[in-house]
Amino acid sequence: MRNETPAVRLHDISKTFGEVRANSHVDLDIYRGEILAILGENGSGKTTLMNMLSGIYFPDEGWIEVDGRPVVISSPKESFRLGIGMIHQHFKLVDVLTAAENVELGLPGKLRLQETVSRIRAICEQYGFEVDPLQKVYDMSVSEKQTVEIIKVLYRGADILILDEPTAVLTPQETEKLFRVLRSMRDDGKAIVIITHKMNEVQAISDRVAVLRKGEYIGDMRTAETTPGEMTNQMVGRQVELKIDRPEPVHPRPRVAVQGLTVRSGEGVLKLRNVSFTARSGEILGIAGIAGSGQKELLEAIAGLQQVESGRVTYLEDDGRKEELLGKDPLEIQQMGVHLSFVPEDRLGMGLVGEMDLAENMMLRTYRDGGSFFTSLKEPTRTAEQVVQELEVSTPSIHTPVRQLSGGNVQKVLVGREIVSAPKVLLTAYAVRGLDINAAYTIYGLLNQQKAKGVAVIYVGEDLDVLLQLADRILVLCDGRVSGIVEGREATKEEIGRMMTTVGGEDRPEADEAETTALAAEDQPTEEEEWEKGKKSGKEKKDKKDKKGKKDKKDKDGGKEKKHGKK
């Protein structure tokens, strides 16, 4: 299937940033009619290498050939001219424009939208994309936005496509759809490069795998002839055990009870609708859901960082004492042992200060301790050393600003700090976001250690395979509601995938996301009212009949009030 002259050939490419050698003498061939996966740990130079193809960086040494001719790619424009298109992790789209306008944006010549639209339709038909060129980007799901990005590069005539971690934000179903499209593009003779951390995806999609380790090219293998274990070993450079433990919870007791939590964002959009669940000690409660289904709001509400419209979050002590967390400030909640480690997309935005060094970042949690007016770096320095040692953080020293560490190491510092402080409840979101497999397994191990210590762990994850292996129970969020809570040991990926898109996971053919949202928005006020009523009557649990009755009554009351107002 693959064409025997490489579409792109990288010769002896090196690139340094300051002291960091991102790529060192890399040779790599990319062929048409083939999907090449690039594997490597965090900071192994995958993205840097691809950025040199797309004209963002310029190599310090070495040269690039396209179709056998040496070329100089000095700008992204030049890269497009050579038929190379890159789909970045973060989309570069203008929200208020339509898909077609976004595609046309930046191209020379007159704006002929009609023509653009029909060409986009043709591209969609050819490869099986599903997107409406006239839809505004802000109305699109993540996967649709990604599709627009892909169409954008195809429209510009790219036949060498590079995708940087395209599946990180997709549901399993969407990933499958993307893979179908990629295969059809491959069969059309395009060269496809995909950067990913997920082994199962490498196996599912790629024809060949190239491995980078610490900026160096290690080798390539035909995907069909290798195993995940072998790939990981190549990537890490030593034997790695790829197994997530899931010990049975020891004496689980209710620790945090969330009841009827409803949260509205600053713009008035409902982010959580009547969410109830209980997290137990010694247990990992996984939270699954499409990105933006309310995961962030849920954790922040528990940690006291989020304004809550209604509901309760109760902290339960072993001796039966109860304490309401809502209304407390984040500091008090922290001091009670509820710790949040949220890894945002930019990794640094929450919890760490990029300009500060490791020790100072440890001090962020503890600097208030002691009555002195002054800070002391002694204890934090010790903590930093402990975290560096236990989590194998690779850093020049503990006096290096965190910003200079690679993504994986930054995350280890963040998660490590929360763990070292011996929490009772550990809330973690996207702890392995963008982490390579080795670092990710270290984190899973750490979470399991916490579980064994009796900590109630709430783990918001993106990778369903991992959730299914790690979590004791999995709570599935769908558009801010609890779609269901399933046993981690029994659930299947398909079941959870369905629950992520429709509440309860029942089969509703043709029920796309927009429809679900519309439906949900319609019946939402009712649910709120119910909850309001529930709060007033002082009971948390009521049967349906009761609710119904109260609701009717309230409606009548509402009607009366209206009349009153008119008088």
Partner: protein, 382 residues
């Protein structure tokens, strides 16, 4: 063979540098200053025809403090100017570390002056001198703090733009001072306040004491003490730690339970109060009067000092020295060669530009296109 379009490598490569040893960055900065002086010489020669050699000799002579005296730069007054500038720079720095762009030091200082002057004017003869001074200190601190507090409250609660707010507060302060200058004018009809408590029984009432027979010494000592205090406050205290976290990332601060609003307000009170203190020194310490130009734009120059020093109090001593010295020096050189005041300001501007630009060369490496190593036709790999 003509090089094809696509083979051209970009002319310049700019890439981040590894952190460099301190002597390298000092060398870079020094060479930038030297280049800037050469550039000034060249420019002066081209524009005014002043003999470049005589000019540069003068410039280099003026650069050595020992010889500076012959250019009219006197030691004590210069040290006093340095101290005032340093105090104002120290005052704006906590706000800056918090990324709160307080450019209202001018107004906050004037308010301090006003507070002190009011006590001198109204309390003289009413209560004992020591009590006047105590009241002055309190009034100046409060007035400055109030001028810092107002923009902070609006920023913290309504997200108002602090830069515009503090700037506007300067005008209000100036007008307030102008109003009181007329209200308290002395003698009548002069439109100015004159020296407060200059004659008769009230002479010297509310004036800050002169230490060691040198009327500049108090200001200098206060500036020195606050440099130390501010250093420890910013780098060693819990409050200093909090405000830099707020500056780096408000989200992180929230997440850690730091009360961002409280820190914003607290820091601006501190910032304003320190400006007010400087106002006190200006009015009750040295000038014993109130005018709208007491701060004389130093509230703005202080912003530059703070930035040049990257918010480090000790480096601010150097930066204020540089600015005070340069301003005086450039002015005197311009006079010597019969150039006007504006020209000396152009020279100061050029030198500052070069100093700031030196940062770029410390942070980034610029490399020219290197020779084409690409073999024609490519090489097949073995």
């Amino acid at each position: 063979m003509a090089k094809s379009e696509e083979k051209r490598e970009p002319l310049l490569h700019i890439s981040a540098r590894a952190p460099m040893p301190w002597y390298f960055s000092v060398a870079v900065r020094l060479s930038c200053i030297i280049v800037s002086l050469l550039f000034c010489t060249l420019l002066t020669w081209l524009i005014t025809g002043v003999d470049p050699i005589a000019f540069s000799v003068t410039v280099f002579q003026a650069s050595f403090p020992a010889k500076a005296a012959m250019f009219g730069i006197k030691f004590w007054p210069m040290l006093r100017d340095l101290s005032i500038l340093l105090l104002l720079a120290l005052a704006v720095t906590p706000a800056f570390r918090m990324r709160f762009w307080n450019i209202g030091a001018e107004g906050q200082t004037l308010m301090g002056c006003l507070g002190a002057a009011a006590c001198m004017k109204l309390l003289a003869g009413v209560i004992p001198n020591e009590w006047i001074i105590v009241c002055e200190v309190i009034a100046a601190l409060l007035a400055g703090a109030l001028w810092g507090l107002l923009p902070a409250i609006f920023k913290a609660h309504f997200g108002t733009n602090e830069t515009l707010f503090t700037l506007m507060m300067n005008y209000i302060a100036t007008q307030l001072v102008a109003f009181f200058c007329i209200l308290w004018e002395n003698p009548k009809g002069s439109g100015t306040i004159g020296i407060i408590n200059q004659n008769g029984a009230l002479r010297g009432m509310g004036w800050l004491p002169v230490i060691g027979g040198n009327k500049y010494l108090l200001t200098i000592i206060v500036a020195g003490a606050f440099t130390l205090l501010m250093y420890f406050y910013l780098y060693r205290s819990k409050q200093g730690f909090e405000l830099s976290v707020v500056g780096e990332s408000e989200r992180t601060a929230n997440y850690l339970g730091i009360k961002v609003r409280r820190v914003t307000i607290r820091t601006m009170i501190l910032s304003g109060a320190l400006c007010g203190l400087t106002g006190l020194l200006l009015t009750a310490g040295e000038n014993h009067t109130l005018t709208t130009t007491l701060a004389g734009g130093r509230g703005f120059t202080a912003v530059m000092v703070s930035w040049l020093a990257k918010f480090n109090p000790f480096i601010m001593i150097l930066a204020s020295f540089l600015l005070v010295f340069m301003e005086k020096g450039a002015g005197d050189i311009a006079t010597k060669f019969s150039l006007n005041k504006s020209f000396s300001e152009i020279l100061t501007g050029i030198i500052l530009f070069f100093i700031i630009a030196s940062d770029f060369f410390i942070r980034y490496k610029v490399r020219f296109r290197h020779g084409a190593k690409i073999p024609e036709g490519g090489v097949s790999r073995v």
